[in-house]
Symmetry: C2
Subunit: 614 residues, 2 copies
């Protein structure tokens, strides 16, 4: 670990060290006392604890505030109150109930201490192939999560290979139970990623879900795990995906595979989260029939109704892979009889890797607007945390974790509100300016890295920085097929017919050039460079403009940050300034490479005569 402990993040008024508490109520009391003292508040507050609900009410009775709820409800209420007081707001009276019963953070941590797609240092949990963590830091981590109502974490990478599969076996199971005990007062339950193929390496000698030996083996595993961690929320599985084994290996369906595991968990009240990130990752670029966004729907929609009631299909928000801009995954509309979790990615794999600033709540808002009525049943997000001293690599990237917690609790994304809340807590002397930076950031990044829904123009493997044809002849099914006069894939009825996977209203919106939002234009359509957009500009001119503007606006973000010297802690200011320096470089590189790429391809100059390198 880089240092022994992280900062108190957006709770700077709370002490670094957290008083011991064996229950949420005890913890709430001590946090409340410490918080009120630190905030120099004379407000009288009483806790009324009853039951185990997550919900809580904040009431005012004769000058005394009452936080009434179960465990951990009263803890959540305590943090809500303290945060409001810290922002100088009136007492946040009201009744609070979470929209999703499970609000999960997925860590992609490996047991060697690395983090897959991690941009904030090493793992918070693992080192040297075992659980090994800084207790004080994990307390602060858990407090941070609880303060926004995140109530579950899955602590290991979805790509489970030995020795990581041993997490659910003794002796490591003891370590896992220890971590569960630590997290329990914060209202946080554990999940574990398991390897579907694991029984093939043990007595059963197979992982066939229809084998009674395999079923018994998993039942025994679950029993052992729940004996040590009675409130484990469940297992997470990535199967038959990107070279991971799965039920298809045995000619079984994903319903058969998922149900088998779910039945092992059922007696203990556990859920089985089954990830739907399944597609052909050995596609031939010459193949114009296969269209990667269609894959998840094609795999899972026909299985609707076949899953047990404790199976949850975990579905990425978009149909491809966490690009800067994607439409909602049609699979989220296609499983009325199946439990579903919406999966977001806080880790900024394709959105600047916590070097470039990218506040994600607007992206989520766009997704939520396209969700079916009722939306998903659960919500999850891939963590952006690591053992970096500032938690996320980029101090401002913590805003995404905060906003995720708030979004998950409320079941809606309110970008401006969450940004302002977070900034007012974290940097009270520059809250307005930082809120503006956050809100502007995704539009700036989108302009220089992925305007019009163009995805995967990134460097292969790293996924940072531009490579216009980096994925064009690869096996991953992510092509734009740009030529000298046009770019994009026609995904409508004349093309791959991906749009047919959507309900009618979305289908029509995406298929018609007049109603398809600009930001998704090249996701759904193949267009000529001279195609006129609604504002009269040609498609190519829009691409040039966005890149020139994006790079310029990145510089403006940097300048705005530099203005804040003296209004945020100096070490934070310096750290973030270094990030902005890198972002400005990156934005310039995107601008020049992409503009040159299209200029070389089309021969069409910029109408404004700005410099495009020939």
């Amino acid at each position: 670990m880089k240092q022994a402990s992280g900062t108190p993040a957006w709770l700077p008024f709370l002490p670094m060290d957290i008083p011991a508490g064996n229950s949420s109520a005890q913890l709430a009391r001590s946090e409340l006392a410490a918080g009120l003292a630190a905030l120099a508040s004379s407000q009288r507050v009483e806790l009324e604890v009853k039951g185990a609900d997550e919900g809580y009410d904040i009431l005012l009775r004769e000058g005394t505030l009452h936080i009434r709820g179960g465990e951990p409800g009263v803890l959540y209420g305590t943090y809500t109150l303290l945060q409001a007081l810290a922002r100088g707001e009136p007492a946040p009276l009201g009744n609070y109930r979470p929209r999703y019963p499970l609000r999960m953070l997925n860590h992609w941590d490996n047991m060697d201490g690395s983090v897959e797609r991690g941009y904030a240092g090493g793992s918070l949990f693992f080192n040297n192939n075992r659980l090994a963590y800084d207790q004080a830091r994990i307390h602060r981590y858990a407090r941070m999560l609880a303060s926004v109502g995140i109530n579950a974490i899955c602590l290991n990478n979805v790509n489970v290979r030995p020795p990581m599969d041993g997490l659910i076996l003794p002796p490591q199971l003891d370590d896992l139970a220890g971590l569960a005990n630590l997290l329990r007062p914060y209202g946080i339950r554990l999940l574990v990623c398991v390897d579907f193929a694991m029984p093939a390496r043990h007595e059963p000698g197979t992982a066939d879900p229809l084998s009674p030996q395999v079923q018994a083996w998993w039942a025994l595993r679950a029993k052992q795990v729940y004996a040590r961690i009675p409130d484990l929320a469940g297992f997470v599985v990535k199967a038959d995906s990107e070279h991971r084994p799965g039920p298809h290996t045995y000619g079984r369906s994903h319903a058969q595979g998922a149900n088998m595991l779910a039945r092992a968990l059922k007696p203990h009240g556990g859920l089985l989260f089954w990830r739907c990130f399944v597609y052909n990752c050995r596609q031939d670029w010459r193949d114009r029939q296969t269209d990667r966004p269609k894959a998840a729907y094609e795999h899972y929609a026909p299985l609707d109704g076949q899953f047990d009631d404790n199976v949850v299909l975990q579905i990425k928000s978009g149909p491809v892979d966490f690009q800067v801009r994607e439409p909602v995954s049609p699979l989220l509309h296609a499983l009325p009889q199946t439990k579903k979790a919406l999966e977001l990615q806080l880790a900024q794999e394709y959105t600047g890797q916590q070097i470039d600033l990218f506040y994600q709540a607007a992206q989520w808002q766009d997704i939520f607007r396209q969700l079916p009525p009722g939306g998903a049943d659960y919500i999850a997000a891939v963590s952006n945390l690591g053992d970096d001293e500032s938690w996320c690599g980029h101090d401002l990237a913590l805003a995404n974790l905060y906003a995720f917690g708030r979004t998950a609790w409320r079941g809606e994304s309110l970008p401006g509100r969450y940004a302002m809340e977070w900034a007012a807590l974290s940097f009270p002397e520059a809250a307005g300016e930082i809120t503006k930076l956050l809100l502007a950031s995704p539009h700036v990044y989108e302009k220089y890295a992925a305007p019009l829904g163009l995805g995967f123009m990134v460097n292969p493997q790293t996924h940072y920085g531009p490579s216009p044809e980096g994925y064009e002849y690869a096996l991953w099914g992510t092509y734009h097929r740009a030529n000298h006069e046009a770019i994009g894939i026609d995904r409508g009825p004349e093309g791959t017919n991906f749009t047919a996977q959507y309900p009618l209203h979305l289908r029509q919106r995406f298929e018609r050039l007049t109603t398809c939002p600009d930001r998704l234009l090249l996701f759904f359509h193949r267009l000529r460079y001279d195609q006129r957009l609604a504002d009269g500009r040609s498609l190519l001119q829009r691409i040039y403009d966005d890149h020139f503007e994006g790079a310029q606006e990145a510089e403006a973000l940097q300048a705005a940050w530099l203005e804040l010297a003296g209004r945020v802690p100096p070490e934070v200011h310096a750290r973030v300034a270094r990030r902005f320096e890198m972002q400005v470089q990156n934005a310039r590189e995107w601008r020049d490479v992409i503009n040159t790429y299209f200029y070389r391809k089309s021969g069409i100059p910029d109408e404004q005569g700005r410099l495009i390198h020939p």
Copy 2:
């Protein structure tokens, strides 16, 4: 290691186990006896050993053949005779003298057992950060080298980092001396790559070549090394290159750096090989002034006359980096007062990675024809060997090692002759056909992977398979700048003026479109796709044609190989057949990706209407 021992390669008539011999003469006698017996020859042969010359004569006196020479000359003569007899040729009477006094193989082996740019398994020498080799196999390796007159090996990677720098210190120096003893009877001398920065990590605390402490430190190192290995041929150094430290770190010239090391070796008769692979590997692709092929000349030509007489500048054959086709490095013409070694690369980094067949002697012949009178003083080649059971990954790639030995001895490359010699020894029942395959192979590969001198359209990092813009926006200075109507870099007087580095006759040949060979056209010129070539075809049509033909000819190579079933050992036939299968796939990928790339870019269809994926 994959198995305990390699095959006897092109000496299949010799026994696997080599009788012990403490001197070249003893070894010659036992190899001669074993060879004559195996070949059932009744020829009487006498060895006349005198001195330590490498040269030898083969004479016939009254029915007895005499091999007369020094040590190792008589051993070379023995192998020459045995190989001629094995091919059924008359006794090769004559006087034999090597053209280059040092004929070196450079292994890029790392001490962890990996091989940089190795395509034949792991290291023959290292494992687990120490020298660890199969003695019997190294004997066979040494015999193979001696049989074609290779007389020096540098056994470790030019990129020397700790712990590899410890090779020249006790206790590893003892292991190194043991290896030198093993190789000595074969006439093979060791060299070691050293790290210029090494003294900075020891008492001197600096590596400044003008520091007396540094000079004394290296003098002591050399003394220690030569005390254990009195015939060490010298050190090899890569400095100030691709992030390696060097004299520039201390504001010193490469002459100052090289001379300092050379003076440490001088009292012991050692040579200092100083690699000239120095260029800006952080180039901005927007920068059109810097031109990577100019770098080595610019660095070293001004230093001519400043190097000590035991400094040898080791210069890659071409000015870029072992591409399929390059002109000769102008630096080889620019150092009349400096000792020079010509460096070739047997490891097929850019020429098919020992998956695709690529016989290199024609490429060398092209280079030799462009060398100045007198050529180089020494010759070296990066090894294509590893612990693979067939030595090179591809059984037929051994032909390159054989041809290098013959080329290095004779000072000229005779592709047809060496191929036929090797094939007749290795596969006597299919020698003619295999010779044809070998001779055709580089032209086939060049057609589908790099026609017209186009380089670096390869996948970044791996360097295998096509990526038309893989290096186009990278830091390595390797750009083709293709747009919708033209491709290539003008390196003549109107362009980067790289051609000015050549002597007049080469300069004029390359600068004029009418005299520049087609195979170097796009190396020296930027041309429109509709530019007519000598045969009337347009440049683009020639690119299409070469790719279609190349892929077809790769299939023809495969078919020709499959015809040879029963005429080569079955396990070899099967192994090579698998390689050809991969090559055919690779050639198709090259054909389709490159043709599609240019078709998308230009919009110009193939005149013959063959399939180009849109």
